[in-house]
């Protein structure tokens, strides 16, 4: 551990599916975690674990740019799951472990069979947890497409559980089916849920009349979706009291605390690395520490699910 990260007090420790994190803030899948340099950058930013870019069976180029549109404190993206393919997993995990951090490997297949094969390779590489991407909204065949039905959700999760002993996190997006999907994933053995992915959206250039993203539509993230993330975490926690990693619009200590009080034990950040810069992790940790002192709480776990207290 570097001298900087060790300064973080134990009051911020978090445990998700048995994995001990020195604090609750990770990157979200899709932020940099597809090559060594990017992973180093994430580690320098102070995350407590590194989540890889979603890895697919084969390398994917993704869509041609524009793959992102800046929208103030929000963003629209359709990267198209560009990634080096599952065979890069060994190098990625090695880099993460080389810096003493847990490696959360995000994987994305088109069906249960592919998810199982990906899970096996990720486990062999030493992944500390597998994050099943069942919610990317803009890449045909993957994400929401691969998990269209409740049956599919069940099959993928139980398939993966049957071949690995590594904790399985299931990443879902907001939809009216969320509670049913969450229930299916949990009953199939998911150890934690990661909520939420981006919400479908489109931006059109008014002069040309063209949707700007090459894929025409993409996923909305950042501040715009924060209330939807809080809602999703709250509803799922209320129904299942399960382990949840909260994602969506975390951009300062307040937005972080909201998700924790809604029921999240740990958090992930994507868009705020762009809107606030790579200092965001330390800013939030300082804010969380200050808040705990201010309200006289011993540690962050006291806050988990506080919004459900009667």
């Amino acid at each position: 551990m570097s001298s900087r990260t060790s300064k973080v007090s134990t009051a911020l420790e978090a445990v998700v599916s048995g994995i001990r994190l020195k604090h609750p803030i990770m990157n979200a899948s899709g932020i940099l975690g597809s090559n060594t340099g990017g992973i180093l950058r994430l580690i320098e930013s102070g995350v407590s674990a590194v989540v890889t870019k979603t890895l697919t069976p084969e390398p994917r180029e993704g869509y041609l740019p524009p793959i992102t549109i800046p929208l103030g404190e929000c963003m629209l993206n359709a990267v198209g799951l560009a990634n080096p393919g599952i065979d890069a997993v060994n190098e990625l995990v090695r880099t993460i472990h080389g810096h003493g951090l847990p490696a959360i490997v995000s994987i994305g297949g088109r069906n249960a069979g592919e998810f199982v094969a990906l899970a096996v390779k990720a486990e062999e590489a030493g992944a500390d947890a597998l994050e099943l991407n069942m919610s990317c909204p803009h890449t045909p065949g993957y994400g929401v497409d691969a998990s269209k039905t409740i049956e599919a959700v069940k099959n993928i999760v139980s398939g993966v559980k049957s071949v690995t002993s590594t904790p399985v996190w299931v990443k879902l997006g907001y939809s009216r089916l969320l509670l049913r999907e969450a229930g299916a994933a949990l009953s199939a053995g998911a150890d934690a849920l990661v909520l939420i992915n981006t919400i479908p959206g489109m931006v059109i250039d008014v002069y040309t009349g063209n949707p700007i993203l090459t894929n025409r539509f993409g996923g909305l993230s950042g501040k715009c979706i924060h209330p939807v993330a809080v809602y999703s975490v709250y509803m799922v926690y209320r129904e299942y009291q399960c382990e949840i990693v909260g994602v969506g619009g975390v951009q300062d200590w307040r937005t972080a605390v909201e998700l924790i009080e809604a029921g999240a034990k740990a958090l992930q950040i994507a868009t705020a690395f762009y809107t606030k810069g790579y200092g965001i992790v330390h800013e939030i940790l300082a804010g969380l520490t200050g808040f705990l002192e201010e309200i006289n709480a011993k540690n962050i776990t006291e806050l988990v699910g506080l919004a459900h207290r009667k």
Binding site: I67, I69, V79, T208, I212, F273
Partner: protein
């Protein structure tokens, strides 16, 4: 800890006002900004979206806050840049930016080394460094042939720098930018900025005395896809630097790994 502050990055449509061919390979495209675009500083760049084609990274070569125009200088090398080079007045394009980090050295005398389309950020530097006004700037601009230099030297001169052109035949100097650079008295300049193909900047680096390295700045290129620091495609090999947020210009010492 390298930090990047809250970016003020906007998308806007632009509309081509003029496409002026500066040389056989360089096209100066001036466009009207149709929405809001914040004041850029060199060597910031944009993602330039050509509807129907790709979005590609392009240096900002000029910006006029009053007229609300932005300039780019394009060198056609593939489908998107070729399409751009032939673009007509009134065509719409989309941009988002300004991207990357402003890096404007202080001082009174500057040496600016440009190769090919590397001239684009240099044009923006000439305004930002107030060349020909409070400060003195010497531009060494090179390309393979006289045709590729074309009128670009005159253009650069007209915006305030003293220019030496370099090419295989018929320019102020015969050879390469690096040949001229070797003969320069580095002591004279408060800062040296190199903007061109990686091979050129590597040579510039090699011929800069160790003790002068902290005056050398290099405008670099990697593969930019998002421009926002999220996709990881622009990472400088062997480092954790992202060209699109930490660059595109770096103090030479920060990127020694890729200069050797």
């Amino acid at each position: 800890m390298r930090n990047t502050s809250n970016p003020n990055i906007h998308y806007t449509t632009i509309q081509v006002i003029e496409n002026k061919q500066l040389s056989s390979t360089l096209h100066l495209i001036r466009s009207k900004i149709k929405g809001f675009f914040p004041q850029p500083q060199p060597p910031q760049f944009i993602m330039l979206w050509v509807p129907g084609h790709e979005a590609i990274p392009m240096s900002i070569a000029g910006y006029d806050d009053e007229d609300k125009t932005v300039d780019i200088i394009v060198k056609p090398i593939g489908p998107t840049t070729r399409y751009l080079a032939a673009i007509r007045k009134d065509a719409y394009l989309g941009i988002y930016g300004p991207l990357g980090k402003p890096l404007v050295p202080s001082g009174k005398k500057f040496l600016l080394l440009a190769g090919g389309s590397g001239i684009a950020p240099i044009a923006h530097y000439i305004t930002a460094l107030r060349c020909g006004k409070e400060n003195y700037c010497r531009v060494v601009f090179g390309a393979w042939t006289k045709e590729e230099i074309g009128n670009a030297g005159e253009y650069i001169q007209s915006i305030g720098a003293e220019v030496t052109t370099v090419c295989d035949e018929g320019c102020d100097y015969r050879g390469t930018v690096v040949d001229v650079y070797r003969g320069e008295d580095k002591e004279e300049y408060d800062a040296i900025i190199s903007s061109g193909p990686p091979a050129m900047s590597r040579e510039v680096y090699k011929h800069t005395p160790r003790e002068k390295l902290d005056r050398l700045y290099i405008v670099f290129e990697t593969h930019v896809k998002c421009g926002l620091g999220v996709c990881g495609s622009c990472v400088i090999p062997g480092t954790s630097l992202l060209l699109c947020v930490d660059g595109p210009a770096f103090p030479a010492k920060q990127i020694e790994k890729v200069m050797r």
